[in-house]
Symmetry: C2
Subunit: 319 residues, 2 copies
């Protein structure tokens, strides 16, 4: 059994033919043309689905279905993309209806963070432990996806699990959402860079200045890691405080969901063991009862393919 998973992004549309073990058989990427109305974007996607099938010698109707992850809010029951700020022409895009019309295939959709969590839980770092698993993406923001009993959980109206928007320092740093002190305002890559810039401002000798060519606007998360690894005391302190706040936020998530696996994705997670080792030490006091025996934190393994693999799995689940 095979299905097609689509990752509809603001820059590219990536589609993949995926088997029922989460293995990519064939994949294709085309530019989104995000400024266009939804109709030609839809045509491109149905075109990708039939091309992928054809190239593998399959009729479209032999596919189990199509799954799509979208960067915005969805109504999974109606099969509609409601709103995505990076896709201005796709307001109330009737994905299910159009896919049915064009190829006679069932379509299932969800938010891209949720779909990536499904992919990682089933076929990536989660290794199929899906009684309850949580994926946290440390990128521009802090995103969350929760899998319960093998399926995406996103609240009663499918707009929940905004895990980056838990206030952990009431009255603290302003967050993009309008509140103050959200976890995202401390544990996103954006927050790491902000803190490093502030620290560098006060420390003209820091290696950070050298790495960014003396232009703090060009400082990125990787440079902060690099400076910390080189022993720069300013960057090391920034990184230490970042990991401390990450531990508080992950402790909160653990105390809510007590997941079998807590998966870290996104740019910051690329630090791998350099992140995990100090994190696990700082996490213990944050876990209710200080019981680390069941805590299992892992770095995501599917990278940019988590989206298409998770979307294909969604189609395979038929919901």
């Amino acid at each position: 059994m095979v299905s097609v998973g689509i990752d509809l992004g603001g820059t590219g549309i990536k589609a993949a033919l995926v088997d029922d073990q989460g293995r990519i058989i064939r994949k294709k990427t085309i530019p989104t043309g995000a400024e266009r109305p939804w109709q030609p974007i839809m045509e491109d996607m149905t075109g990708l689905v039939s091309d992928l099938a054809k190239e593998e010698g399959l009729e479209a109707r032999e596919l189990a279905g199509v799954g799509i992850g979208v960067p915005g809010t969805v109504d999974p029951e109606r099969g509609e993309l409601i709103y995505a700020c990076n896709l201005p022409g796709c307001r109330h895009m009737p994905l299910r209806e159009e896919m049915k019309k064009a190829l006679g295939l069932p379509l299932y959709l969800d938010n891209d963070a949720n779909v990536a969590a499904l992919g990682e839980s089933l076929y990536g770092a989660g290794g199929g432990q899906t009684r309850c698993s949580v994926m946290i993406t440390l990128g521009t923001g802090v995103g969350g996806g929760v899998i319960i009993d093998g399926r995406i959980f996103a609240g009663a109206y499918h707009g929940g699990t905004e895990l980056g928007h838990l206030v952990m320092r009431a009255g603290g740093e302003p967050c993009s959402c309008g509140r103050r002190g959200c976890w995202e305002a401390y544990s996103s890559a954006t927050a790491l860079i902000r803190n490093a810039r502030r620290a560098a401002e006060a420390a003209p000798d820091s290696l950070l200045w050298k790495l960014c060519g003396r232009d703090l606007q060009r400082l990125d998360g990787k440079m902060v890691g690099e400076a910390a690894d080189a022993g720069d005391p300013v960057a090391s302190l920034v990184m230490k405080e970042y990991i401390q706040d990450l531990a508080i936020g992950l402790g909160n998530i653990y105390n809510i969901f007590q997941p079998e696996v807590l998966i870290l994705g996104g740019g910051v997670s690329a630090r791998g063991e350099k992140l995990l080792r100090p994190l696990e030490k700082l996490l213990r006091p944050e876990i209710y009862g200080n019981d680390m025996s069941k805590v299992d934190i892992r770095i995501a393994t599917l990278g940019n393919d988590a989206g298409v693999i998770g979307a294909a799995a969604l189609a395979m689940q038929g919901r």
Copy 2:
């Protein structure tokens, strides 16, 4: 179809025969004798079950089963009470096995906060809206119970949904769990009283002094409410700040679970509309997207019966 729900507390054992609409047919309460080993406590509970059946002219085997809510950690799969600090003799109490042996009845158990949430969701304030509902108990601590698709959710190992132990002011007030800044340290009745005492210390003219007979150790949550209602400026400010922190914490819960209904129980919730009105105003900025259209906060309606009704429902669900 009827089942028996038992609320095993540190002071009393309450048992009720409940029908499949959550209506109590008959109920009995006896003292727990919490200092005893588990065997005589178990005998008392099986005795209560057969008495309740007999008094309604039923054979024990005509019951659907027995549900128990316990004030501690449980292993619902093995049907065991693992540990409850108020029941020192009940460590690893094999409830399911013993109930089977004594009366041939299936037994299901869960933590008392979870069971109360199930009762309120199905038959109390939740009115059966159980796609996702959350109950928060504002008492000595802040307890949480989460219902997803009509059933208790408590994490992969059934020790999650410790909703009172989300850090909302990192580094803030010490919490009974050992962390600092947990929601419980701001929104429990205990925290309300602590804050009122501190405020009164600095305000010898406050009405709070009069209400507690000039002994701040005797101050309770009700007195704080009473003083605020009477217009005492010190108590009013304490109450206002309490509701502000409650709004931040409930905003966090909403942003995670997006429940159909958010039920407030426990002593502080007895303030009813006086709590709800200011709370709803302060909640809007805490909700992701500031969208209050689906936010539905209600005061618990089953009172002390939530436990037996929820426990009976657990038995009726057969899990």
